[in-house]
């Protein structure tokens, strides 16, 4: 019968609970244990904010977190800029010689093992005699994440009706203004999504960062990784909880922003 499909039967409830548990239980445990008062990770010693205090007093860990955030923000911004330009070029530009080769090369980081990307970048930086640190990691992350932005933005552009741009030109826009006034407002959600994807990928990356970073400028994942090798401290749980909270906030804000921009008609008009 039809109505049984939508009802929450015992079986549906169980499979839903198991599915959610499989996905989120480890994270929930991590969050709960971040409030653990005990020094041992696996033993519950009552509620406490001790490890959060510890983290905010841990100079090295704070530096690493700051490093990660700034690398993430800068590389995501650069990747969004370059990736959007590449997407526009591929989706809207004239057909040029070697276009297929160019788009193939653009997408290669999607399938390239990170170890190879990291190693080749390391060799490049060594050959250039570049001092490894913030900028080398940022450049490496930009090259890694740019293709993701391109994929997201290009897929939006290809479904966008070309006659919208033609209509804008017909109504007095030169091609640049047509792009800024019509195309850009319509692909902003894709660009924002691309930026967030790039930011999270950068925040998440260990392999490429460990190849391209230098002494004294470890990112948070590298720092955590090296700490964990010496034994898991409850402080790590606190840091991870904060990262989860940060990402949750970004997602909520971004979805609100995209709702807001589609609700407001005047956004692109006053120019």
């Amino acid at each position: 019968m039809a109505h049984t499909v939508t009802r929450l039967t015992r079986f549906n409830m169980t499979s839903l609970a198991l599915g959610l548990a499989f996905l989120y239980l480890p994270i929930v445990i991590l969050v709960i244990y971040s409030f653990n008062a005990s020094r041992l990770v696996t033993v519950w010693g009552g509620w406490s904010l001790r490890w959060y205090r510890e983290f905010f007093n841990d100079r090295a860990m704070l530096d690493a977190a700051w490093m990660s955030l700034s690398v993430g923000a800068v590389s995501a911004t650069l990747a969004t800029l370059l990736g959007t330009l590449a997407a526009v070029g591929l989706a809207r530009g004239e057909r040029f010689r070697g276009r297929a080769l160019f788009s193939g090369m653009l997408y290669s980081p999607l399938v390239m093992p990170e170890v190879i990307s990291g190693l080749s970048l390391l060799l490049l930086f060594v050959a250039l005699n570049a001092e490894r640190g913030f900028w080398t990691v940022t450049i490496a992350h930009t090259t890694l994440t740019m293709c993701f932005v391109t994929v997201v933005v290009q897929s939006r552009l290809t479904v966008l009706d070309r006659s919208l741009e033609e209509a804008a030109m017909d109504l007095g826009c030169d091609p640049v203004r047509a792009f800024l006034l019509v195309t850009l407002p319509l692909i902003v959600p894709a660009i924002v999504a691309g930026w967030m994807l790039a930011f999270t990928l950068s925040l998440d990356d260990v392999v490429i960062a460990s190849f391209t970073t230098g002494p004294g400028s470890a990112t948070l994942p590298i720092r955590i990784y090296s700490e964990v090798r010496l034994g898991v401290k409850p402080e790590i749980n606190a840091i991870c909880t904060l990262v989860i909270a940060l990402i949750a906030v970004i997602i909520v804000v971004a979805s609100f922003a995209s709702k807001l921009s589609s609700a407001r008609g005047e956004s692109a008009a006053p120019l």
Binding site: E166, A168, E266
Partner: protein, 414 residues
Amino acid sequence: MRRLSRWRSAASLPPGLDLCGESGLLDVTSGEASAEAAKPLPEPAVSDMPLLRIEGVAKSFGNFRAVDKLSLDIRAGEFFALLGPSGCGKTTLLRMLAGFETPDEGRILLGGNDIAQVLPHERPVNMMFQNYALFPHLSVRDNIAFGLRRAGMARKDIATRVAEMVALVKLEGLEKRKPDQLSGGQRQRVALARSLARRPQVLLLDEPLAALDKKLRESTQGELMELQRRLGTTFIIVTHDQEEAMTMAGRIGVMDAGRLVQVATPRNLYEAPASRWIAEFVGDINLFNGQVAARENGRLTVSTAEAGTLSVSELWPPVTKEVVSVAIRPEKVKLSRRAPASDEGGSHAINRLEGVVSDVNYLGGVTSYRVKLETGAVVRASMANTARLDVDAYLAGQRVVAWFTADDCLVLEQ
């Protein structure tokens, strides 16, 4: 690229009483703003000069010749339709007029100036797109005001002009809606208002009614014609729907394979098609292939295999070939039970074909019959149902005479 700076001044005229009538259309070339132009412009257009002159325009995409050395004159204030099957090049021609395609050869003169190489945003021409291409992120008001803002019009004038346009297309009260909150018919009106807001010299319409249902399409046809008469703007419409073209346009240009095969009024197109292809493309027609057997006093006798010997009044220009087709429109074929009286020598020479009604299709306003002749050929006849209780209706299987006069026939080269 040459700028048509005069367009800006025309767009920023204070909104006056006349919606692009005399002053908007014709004064453009005698230009008050010609001081802005670097060089003095060519002689202003005189009244017998067409507003738009297309001269030997050609466009190819790879090996495909979309438009082939096409020439056409369109007068100011005309409602012109480009009609043709899909892929005939009509949309490419329209896009060249809008500036989205550049001709490989030829010139496009608007008011005497060659605009073939002018970019779309610098032409005093606007286009209404087939799918309307409304900006989804802007309200109805901002969509209509879009082109005015680009022309640098004052804020107050924009508001006045938008209100004028909204009233013109009867969209009052919907100014703040977004395109996705409108019905298909309302979207079509927004697109129309947006393309007319800048008061273009020429409005291009690419299948403007294709997305509407039949009832709405018919009422919109009437509104478009009324609007065109009131504004006096030159309309060029592209359509594959011959009924639409016949209803709205003053002249129709029929295109086939990148060429303009005939330019005529709807009546001439239907009653005096220039070729067999056009006769078959526009409306229904019966065709009988045959050979000219005799010519005398402007009368041809054509012997056909399918319908025997037919008498046909000769058209101008006369056919020169011996192998011809005789064509007769179904509504000009009459049916009767007995053969009508003959009048061989007079102007009403009658062709009689005996046969059996094989098919009757009642369509409301008309009934269309198929009459099978003894030779196996089929003649289509359609008769208006002028009375509710039609005693003259024929039934399938009935023996009838299908007859038509020599004057109603066309003789076309094959």
